[in-house]
């Protein structure tokens, strides 16, 4: 009984059941949610061997759902992340209200994402895309004061993306009379070159919005920061990957066939690199941990976009590797920030401090998370970064790689800020009674943290399935060892040796420093520090957190000033007025909306007839 329909039935059915259970038998709700997502993991795992394609007609359109290796990769990420974040949410969301609403939308998002990756035609893709967008919008506006305006921002950008995508679908339908992806891939070159570039750009806009590409990233930091943390983990970990999934198809299946490929490649790659650099700079100046992670997320997605755009086998590999890994480590980081929020009620990095001894497992997760993001060996991030740089250099993007390196080095700053402010530093009296987060929160985090280590030692467990998935784009072969990385010039890094060396030296040194003077080594509190002989009182503030990177901010002030103070404010002001305008458009009156739909269809028909000469 493993098939796509079962998957959809179980996920969407579970969503409705959870909503009903909330209003009838509350105890069942959690059970239903967990079972649903666990079944999701199981079905997705078994799908490739058992599922058959499903096809039926809906009006004029042929609907086609099927499983391929590329979809499978993303589906597994969604399923696993969904499962972990839902387990995490059990305790995190316990005290909140409207849980039926929350869990229903959560499961619908997961179902929508399954639908996106498994759809083989544009109509169901768009349909599931909208389901995902709407239910995620519902979760963004779930809580807190500014949720309305932030949700509106998210909605506007999603709408821009969706309309762009819809226009592209209409154009394709009008010219090729097909909605099937495979037919589209075969006949794409039959389109006129103007149409080709239009379709590509529209799709890039459509998918780029979700993957927070630079001009369309404005919604992301706020939306990530305001949505409830379990969902933020999924939002940044899996939902943004839908954009990457789409960009992969557009860049490597459609654009690769067109005559503009080189231009598209370079432009998208540069957009990705600049996204990475600027997002990193913005992340450095943030004071809220979740916002910092949100900008970090945008930056990492920038790397992935660069990898996809460059389009050599190694770069695609690195992009997909990073996409999978980003799903895991960003979920880890958001979860640890969420655990801090759960216990202290704040993620303000100027306030919360010194939690390491109170929340050791959360700290461990955050530590593994930042080491992975930084790309420092021996954790998994290194493999991704290594492949990306090698691919970028070897494909001749010499200045691109400098921008990436700069972003990557600057990333150390905000990563250190994150872990230092929340976990290290002075242990203040205010947080003396904080306890470790409950098991349902720590266990998923720690499992994922250990997984990053495993990926670091054996990158092969990612590389091999990704290699298979890349079969979708062409005939790439990766006959690598399970623990080694290889570039196109034949240079390699043997991760096994690296990890063994690091491990051996680390253990020897750790044993040495622990045994040496073991009896006369004392633990002292963080108040017992060198303060020129002065004895700090209990309420004395010795935390160094505010304006942590002032010198660096001064150095990059020209960049920040130009982008934030001027352009960015200008955009924000314009957006504000745009929202004012939208308030007239979105009146909240159902009849007005109905009128819009009719008007839109009419305009569409007129355009279709006038420009493309087809009868809808």
């Amino acid at each position: 009984m493993v098939s796509l329909t079962t998957l959809y039935e179980i996920t969407f059915g579970g969503a409705i059941l959870a909503f009903i259970a909330q209003h009838t038998i509350k105890q069942l709700r959690t059970f239903i949610v967990i079972v649903t997502s666990a079944l999701g993991v199981y079905i997705v795992w078994r799908l490739p061997s058992q599922a058959t394609d499903i096809s039926f007609r809906l009006g004029d359109f042929q609907i086609l759902w099927g499983v391929n290796e590329y979809s499978q990769l993303f589906a597994l990420l969604i399923a696993v992340l969904g499962f972990f974040t839902l387990i995490y949410s059990i305790d995190f969301m316990k005290e909140r209200e409207r849980l039926g609403y929350f869990y229903m939308n959560f499961l619908i998002v997961i179902g929508g994402m399954y639908g996106i990756v498994y759809s083989q035609d544009l109509i169901s893709l768009f349909f599931f895309w909208e389901i995902m967008t709407w239910s995620s919008f519902m979760l963004v506006i779930y809580c807190c004061d500014d949720a309305q305006s932030i949700g509106l921002k998210y909605f506007v950008f999603s709408a821009i993306g969706a309309y762009a995508m819809l226009t592209a679908i209409v154009l394709i339908w009008a010219n090729l009379e097909t909605t099937s992806l495979s037919v589209l891939f075969e006949n794409f070159t039959n389109l006129s070159s103007g149409l080709q570039i239009t379709v590509i750009v529209l799709f890039i806009v459509g998918f780029g919005v979700k993957s927070a590409m630079m001009p369309f990233h404005v919604w992301a930091p706020d939306a990530y920061a305001i949505s409830p943390t379990p969902f933020t983990a999924l939002f940044s970990g899996a939902l943004s990957k839908m954009g990457i999934w789409g960009l992969g198809i557009v860049l490597l299946k459609l654009a690769a066939q067109s005559g503009f490929y080189v231009w598209v490649q370079d432009i998208v790659a540069w957009i990705g690199a600049i996204t990475a650099l600027l997002a990193t700079f913005y992340a450095i100046v943030q004071t809220d941990a979740k916002k910092l992670l949100a900008y970090s997320s945008i930056g990492q997605l920038g790397y992935i976009i660069v990898g996809l755009a460059i389009g050599t086998p190694l770069s695609i590999m690195s992009a997909l590797f990073l996409a999978m890994l980003h799903g895991i480590f960003k979920a880890m980081l958001f979860m640890s920030a969420g655990a801090v929020f759960y216990r202290t009620g704040s993620t303000d990095m100027n306030e919360v401090t010194g939690l390491i001894r109170k929340m050791p497992w959360t700290f461990l997760t955050a530590l593994f998370g930042i080491i992975t993001v930084a790309g420092v060996p021996p954790l998994g991030g290194f493999a991704a970064k290594w492949m990306l740089y090698e691919a970028t250099i070897q494909s001749g993007h010499y200045f691109l790689v400098i921008v990436l390196f700069a972003a990557s080095t600057a990333a150390f700053l905000y990563l250190y800020r994150f872990i230092f402010s929340l976990f290290l530093g002075q242990e203040e009296k205010e947080y003396a009674d904080i306890k470790e987060a409950p098991l349902t929160m720590t266990v998923p985090m720690v499992i994922m943290a250990l997984f990053t280590l495993v990926v670091g030692v054996f990158p092969g467990i990612f590389i091999n399935p990704i290699g298979n998935a890349m079969g979708y784009f062409g005939n790439y072969t990766f006959n690598w060892d399970v623990s080694s990385l290889l570039n196109e010039w034949g240079n390699h890094v043997d991760m096994m040796t690296v990890v063994m060396t690091i491990g051996a030296i680390f253990i020897i040194a750790a044993i040495f420093i622990t045994i040496k003077n073991y009896r006369t080594t004392r633990y002292v509190t963080t108040k017992d520090i060198h303060t020129s002989g002065e004895i700090p009182t209990e309420n004395e503030n010795l935390t160094y957190a505010v304006d942590f990177y002032k010198p660096f901010e001064r150095a990059i002030a020209p960049v920040l000033k130009r982008s934030i103070d001027k352009t960015y404010n200008l955009i924000a002001e314009n957006l504000e007025s745009a929202f004012d305008f939208l308030r007239y458009v979105y009146t909240g009156n159902g009849q007005t909306y109905a009128l819009y739909v009719v008007l839109f269809l009419a305009v569409l028909m007129v355009f279709a007839e006038l420009i493309f000469g087809i009868q809808l």
């Binding site: 420092v376 150390f412 700053l413 750790a510 003077n517 004392r522 060198h530 160094y544 990177y549 150095a555």
Partner: protein, 304 residues
């Protein structure tokens, strides 16, 4: 499995040699600094005495597990980087694992220690440590860029990221990369000034204003391990630059001569320099060294 004894000897001997050379260089620097300042100066073995003294301290304090492990991270990074660099060209003893890694790996491995140290310093809760870390990481963003530009220029010129292949290219005096790609060398050596943390880029550990910064809460065995790691790491950086730009060394005496001459560049600059503020040093690295690095890449692209 057959044990390759020459490599076993190499694995044991390399860190020891690196430590001894690094420590003696450290002592030599103090002596040279003293002579420049018209002083007699400490004996050349002074740093060794300091390290032994630190290890022989009877007590130690720690603020938590991260501080305890901070120096361990540092030494791990130093020794691991050392193992992945061919110390002596074509010698069966001192290749270690250099065939299992490449330049980009080394680039990342070298920041592993800084990150670990930063975490260790962070846990002490000393505001001075945090200020030092903030400065250090900011400055790192400065000098990494010209350094990477230099490395990329070399990588694309010789189409390899492996140190061993770069060494193989420099088979003759005239083929040294310093002569083949002088602009990359200039960019690299300017970045090297920042990497060694001598003046004018020593704002990180400014002893008088922020009480030596990150290590201000470390004493006894912890500081000893950090100094050990620092000595090895200085040697690692020197050998790396010698391998990249100066054609490596095929025997020990050449290695000593080349590394010592290279070491004198940051040292002699440092003795006569005042100190840059953090943002000044970041902007310094982002101006001329970066420009020269970009020029190096352009030259390579035009020639190739």
């Amino acid at each position: 499995m057959e044990i390759n004894w020459s490599s076993v000897i190499g694995i044991v001997a390399t860190p020891v040699i690196a430590f001894i050379v690094g420590v003696l260089y450290g002592g030599a620097v103090r002596k040279i600094t003293a002579r420049v300042q018209n002083r007699y100066g400490p004996p050349i073995t002074q740093n060794l005495f300091d390290i032994i003294k630190l290890y022989s301290k009877k007590t130690a304090i720690q603020h938590g597990v991260m501080q305890h492990l901070g120096p361990v991270f540092a030494i791990t990074a130093s020794v691991t980087s050392l193992y992945f660099i061919p110390v002596i060209k074509d010698s069966p003893y001192f290749q270690n694992f250099s065939f299992n890694g490449d330049l980009i790996f080394l680039l990342y491995m070298m920041v592993f220690g800084s990150l670990g140290m930063a975490l260790g310093a962070g846990q002490t809760g000393n505001p001075n440590s945090a200020i030092g870390v903030s400065r250090g990481l900011s400055q790192m963003v400065g000098y990494e860029i010209p350094f990477v530009l230099a490395l990329v220029a070399i990588m694309i010129q010789f189409k390899t990221t492996s140190l061993n292949e770069l060494l193989a290219v420099q088979d003759h005096f005239t083929n040294w990369i310093i002569f083949q790609s002088p602009l990359a060398f200039v960019a690299g050596i300017l970045a090297f000034l920042g990497m060694m943390h001598y003046a004018p880029f020593d704002v990180v550990i400014a002893p008088a204003e922020i009480a030596s910064g990150p290590p201000s809460e470390f004493g006894g065995k912890y500081l000893g391990l950090m100094m050990t790691s620092g000595s090895i790491f200085a040697f690692v950086k020197l050998v790396l630059f010698v391998d990249i730009f100066l054609g490596g060394a095929s025997d020990f005496i050449t290695l000593i001569i080349k590394t010592f001459l290279l070491y004198m560049i940051p040292v002699l600059t440092g003795i006569v320099s005042p100190r840059f503020r953090t943002e000044q040093s970041i902007l310094f690295f982002w101006k001329w060294p970066t420009f020269i690095g970009i020029l190096a890449i352009i030259v390579v692209v035009l020639n190739g």
